[in-house]
Symmetry: C2
Subunit: 349 residues, 2 copies
Amino acid sequence: MKLRYNELVLPLEFAFTISRSSQSVARTVYVELTSPDSAAVGLRGIGEAVPSAFYGEDSETVRHFYQQLLEDRALEGLAVHNLQNLEERLARYPDNRAAKSGLQMAFQDLCGKTVNLPLYKLWGLDSNRVPKTSYTIGIDDPKRVAQKIELALSRGFDVIKIKLGGANDLETMKIIRRMAPEARLRVDANAAWGVDEAVAKCEALKPYEVEFVEAPLRLDSPEEHYRRLKAASSIPLMADENCHGLGDIPRCAELFHAINLKHTKTGGLEEARRMIHAARAHDLKIMLGGFLETSISVTAMAHLAPLVDYCDLDACLLIANDPYLGLEFEGSRFKLPERPGIGVVPRTK
Amino acid sequence: MKLRYNELVLPLEFAFTISRSSQSVARTVYVELTSPDSAAVGLRGIGEAVPSAFYGEDSETVRHFYQQLLEDRALEGLAVHNLQNLEERLARYPDNRAAKSGLQMAFQDLCGKTVNLPLYKLWGLDSNRVPKTSYTIGIDDPKRVAQKIELALSRGFDVIKIKLGGANDLETMKIIRRMAPEARLRVDANAAWGVDEAVAKCEALKPYEVEFVEAPLRLDSPEEHYRRLKAASSIPLMADENCHGLGDIPRCAELFHAINLKHTKTGGLEEARRMIHAARAHDLKIMLGGFLETSISVTAMAHLAPLVDYCDLDACLLIANDPYLGLEFEGSRFKLPERPGIGVVPRTK
């Protein structure tokens, strides 16, 4: 198979601030695969690698990884549909989960296009079962938070995810709940709190009726802190940075009520699917999330939405001008594309 | 979708005796699905329900279930590829796992035929990764066991599964190991033993170098017996009757080293696939098994073989004249068909 790639530079609509960082531009890598297979003639599989510095990747390491694959002829003789073989080839290289994920996305896009089916149909899923998606409000001063909420509500979002872990957590919650009394609210602390603060915050969040608190504890927290928080909190807790691959599921089931799956972590849609099934065996709730990315990556993940409980798939709405068209949003509701593969096409102005 | 079905009466090559029963004929139910969808015109999805009295089903209950579906118009408006919707419709009916499994098999066969791909390709699997299958030797007197082993070896089988739980367990093992010193041996006790006997048998089996012991304990054994046996046995233990659906996986991971998946138990290939992924999260080993069935059911299950460690897919070789052609065996090795869907066709004489 033939691999091409190039960097995408994506200015954000607003500077995006979470508990540990702030940024105004995102850089991802566009990937394209073609195959000499007769069934794939004239077709291009497209994907997007969404690296995060937090996991040791950026657009440069991704491009370096792809360059390495080219030099190693690592995709030579790879057959369309043999995803298991692709995973095996990629498993020979350590790390680089976002890069692997982008490549696998392009591969699966090509598979879907080869049989002229959108991914969700190829996977036997029911597009009528997609949950609503949340819209994300980054950490900001209360006045700016209020402006963003107004914008989100005017765009029809009735599920809102709020980044906490800043200085004004409860004031922020008060503003949002007042402005959006009917909205479903979720909280993401991005691993900002120690256990005492987390226990106190979960208690203080109770009146705001949040669906769950994501990544409440600092990453260096010992397991015992997770257990203490789980025992104390009446709000369900969701794992983010604690949940990367299939092997993490049993432990997450002990320490959390739910997990968040992202391309940046799983190394591919197929691993995400495996994790969904394993999570179900443990009655874990599941969310599909993303980072700062275009409609390619968001839409690819969305094809798994019929299998999950929550979606946090607004990433492509946080960038200022998404070059691609995939999911169609109507506020928090979205529709999976019926086009083959991921179903994403360049956006025409 | 349109559903048709009829009973298959399958005489066995040898009377099949396990610890709790003996039979000389098997009865399964052939299922056929057609869809008015334009992509499926002229195509027939075929499947086979393989009921077991042990799970409260027989060919009559299966046919009764299908009749009920027809009366309820339960498949009306079901779209090709919407497997999730089929599962949801079937979940409204309790029990009847074999019947549901046969129907889902026909549905997936139709999906594969619609896109002209064998199931393993539709699922992204690598046909080069199928493990060998075992050949099963039922309980019998030592002389007959020796004859069967001779037959198995002459047919090229070098992986053999021996049913124990009868009067001559160790004598049987002695004969088999002497006749087949190089063969990979597996033992299935079909839940025949109490914990003391099981501990003793596992100890006594050690010199015969068996890969695992399946279903060692009586089904009324308390959990504590399973824990005791797991702690005592140096031979890996495999769950059969303790492992039906996805929710059983975490507990099986505590009590066993491996699981056996069968249509008769899972209620469908898709549940089997989910169970495989959940089992991997727990480092459980996985075997694909069967009951007494034709190549339809065996071949359908075999498409999952690239994902597992062990295969026990000789069921269609135990019946006297399999009406269908699917897997091609060369002793313990088999090849997945390249025909679309399950890839089974009527056997021409």
